[in-house]
Symmetry: C2
């Protein structure tokens, strides 16, 4: 009889709340504002098809062979050249989606019991990526402009218990859609340097601004104090699993060794396909079409909320880009309890509680405006209002 002894970390692992919700909400007929799925309308299928043919026909053997763990040089060069601060391609590590960047960061910076800091609320996938290394996660309070720096100082810890890093998502944050202001960025970078605190800056959504680009990244202000994570999932397509990280040169070798051990390298074929697709300024033409689509859908959702939620006591924010907006139900209501009623009414969302490391606000919920069409958005928000009215009556 075989004895499988699970590692302590595995005993603590739980199924992703979001993945479980997505399963429920995948029923036909449900309008889902739950997933963070980019609109398939934005996927450059035709460009990929041509790029794939060129890669296989001109460079098939190299594209299909084992390759460097660092990533394909031409892609690393593209990344370095398109970031708004001076980056050497040797600081760029191509990752299997930016989720893998979080796994690698966790592996090289977190010991069991290490203190790490996250925003309140924060990206659930980051909490999941960090959890296997068994950190103690402390939340930094935040307001509409970003993290509260007094809370940061209080949560920092000291000596052996000093936080290993602060994980932040400054642009159109998942889950809140919030953007960190210029003033808060400047103050946060200064405060972090003063505290000696490394920043892990996650920027999957930064290119998806509606009217004006967000302020420059935290990493641009102090490159030696930050690891920066980026992704091609939102500007091209998530199904290729292509992300990257930019690290100070002193840390890069350890991240590279962790990468080698994790999956040897990110698919070289996919990297070459993207390099081929990007040639001739593809993103300069393509990304504006995504911005305009998402802005249009976000506007539709805000209008529908204005119309449908009148008098119901809800609050929500107005994102400047990205994929999500953040709603707060009136006092006494609970988003987890609302969800099944909403699904009955034909609409789904993610309760906000999933995104808190602790002290969840049970009244919050996340709405994605990128997957559903404008028409579906109007229908779905009306259904959600109906579910809320039913729920309020008990």
């Amino acid at each position: 009889m075989t004895t499988w002894t699970l590692a302590r970390r595995a005993q603590k692992m739980n199924p992703s709340v979001i993945r479980e919700i997505l399963k429920i909400t995948e029923k036909p007929g449900i309008i889902s504002f739950a997933g963070g799925l980019p609109s398939p309308k934005t996927f450059p299928v035709e460009a990929f098809d041509q790029a794939s043919q060129r890669v296989l026909q001109n460079d098939g053997a190299a594209a299909l062979q084992y390759a460097a763990s660092e990533g394909f040089l031409a892609l690393r060069e593209h990344v370095a050249q398109n970031l708004p601060w001076e980056v050497d391609p040797d600081q760029v590590l191509i990752t299997t989606g930016s989720q893998q960047g979080l796994d690698l960061v966790a592996k090289i910076l977190i010991d069991s019991g290490s203190r790490i800091l996250v925003e309140t609320p924060t990206y659930l996938g980051a909490l999941q990526a960090f959890a296997p290394m068994e950190p103690v996660v402390a939340s930094v309070a935040s307001d509409a402009e970003g993290p509260d720096l007094n809370s940061l100082s209080q949560q920092m810890g000291s000596g052996a218990n000093a936080a290993r890093f602060f994980y932040v998502l400054p642009n159109f944050q998942n889950p809140t859609g919030r953007t960190m202001s210029e003033a808060r960025r400047a103050a946060l970078v200064e405060k972090a340097a003063e505290l000696g605190l490394p920043l892990i800056e996650d920027n999957p959504y930064g290119d998806l601004w509606f009217d004006t680009p967000p302020p420059k990244p935290l990493t641009a202000r102090n490159p030696d104090g930050c690891i920066y994570l980026g992704s091609f999932s939102k500007v091209l397509a998530p199904g290729l699993r292509l992300g990257f990280l930019v690290a100070p040169k002193t840390l890069y070798p350890k991240l590279l060794q962790a990468k080698q051990a994790a999956d040897l390298h990110t698919p070289g074929y996919n990297q070459r396909m993207v390099v081929e697709t990007l040639k001739g300024g593809f993103l300069e033409r393509h990304v504006p079409t995504i911005r305009s689509l998402y802005k249009n859908q976000c506007t539709a959702m805000l209008q529908a909320l204005d119309t449908e939620m009148q008098g119901l006591g809800l609050e929500w924010n107005t994102p400047d880009g990205g994929m999500f907006l953040w709603v707060r139900l009136p006092d006494g209501m609970n988003a987890v309890e609302l969800l099944p009623k909403a699904v009955d009414a034909g609409v789904a969302f993610v309760p906000g509680a999933a995104f808190y490391a602790d002290n969840a606000d049970p009244r919050t919920l996340r709405l994605s405006f990128v997957t559903a069409s404008v028409e579906q958005i109007h229908t779905g928000i009306a259904a959600l209002a109906q579910a809320i009215r039913t729920f309020a009556k008990g």
Copy 2:
């Protein structure tokens, strides 16, 4: 001033010896027997090109969207149907190369200080994948038929110190090219069950037999006591990074959660491309051409060794498949010291020492016969013999 505190595991990480050697040996003009790179002649470039077009044109949106962490169902079904024991597709997890399978196994089964067992010698990449979880690695002695079961019992440990698993590569092992005999497989599975010891069976090379298939997998004999790892890297191409694992249903959810946290999912586009490629019995036509190519090159290397190494006191084995053979230099010679002289003579290999968890045999070295052509093999082995003669003279 930012303080980056590395996790303890990161301080122990080291650059891959093989990757470092590969860098040296990538000089033009060097005939390399060092890398484990499948022959690019075997990559089905044309079939991939057609498959990629079909996937993008017929199913582009789904292929490029976020997808299930388990992997694409049709691919999991293919894997389950083609294994020689009863496997439910729900036991199959698609991984980003089989290297990722090792990372996930390590995450769910190894605590800091956990005892784990490996063969002597063993696959270097496995040692690297396990290392971040900080195991105590103990080596099980082996002979030409496979692991020594007395050594296994001695190394097992007991109580809280009992080994979490024994990692084995029974078919055409990397690095030795050795195949575990039928008798040893039966005895090992019985002994492991008696000890309560889980087996991690890695089988990247099993399809690459020359004349007869290897005996059936360990997992087929005791599916609840084993995790089985497989790969498409050697039968299709490594650059797609597609592997899989098969786990007992009780363990699967934890592996799945570790997978979600690691990279959300393996590229769906790549999975669909491979499903499309495999339709109509592609592998049944394709894999025999790889077998015949590698058998031919292995035979050439054995002939060249017979001819060129006469009187030099070397020993080597005769693999029944796979990619590698294993050479032992005469007493007093050291493969690490020989390497620079071999590179000077125009040929490269990997010193065997890299593949031992402890007590390395400094006289061993690994030769890959799959990347170089027959002509290069003859030239390269002659150059190696020359280097050995020079080295022997001091």
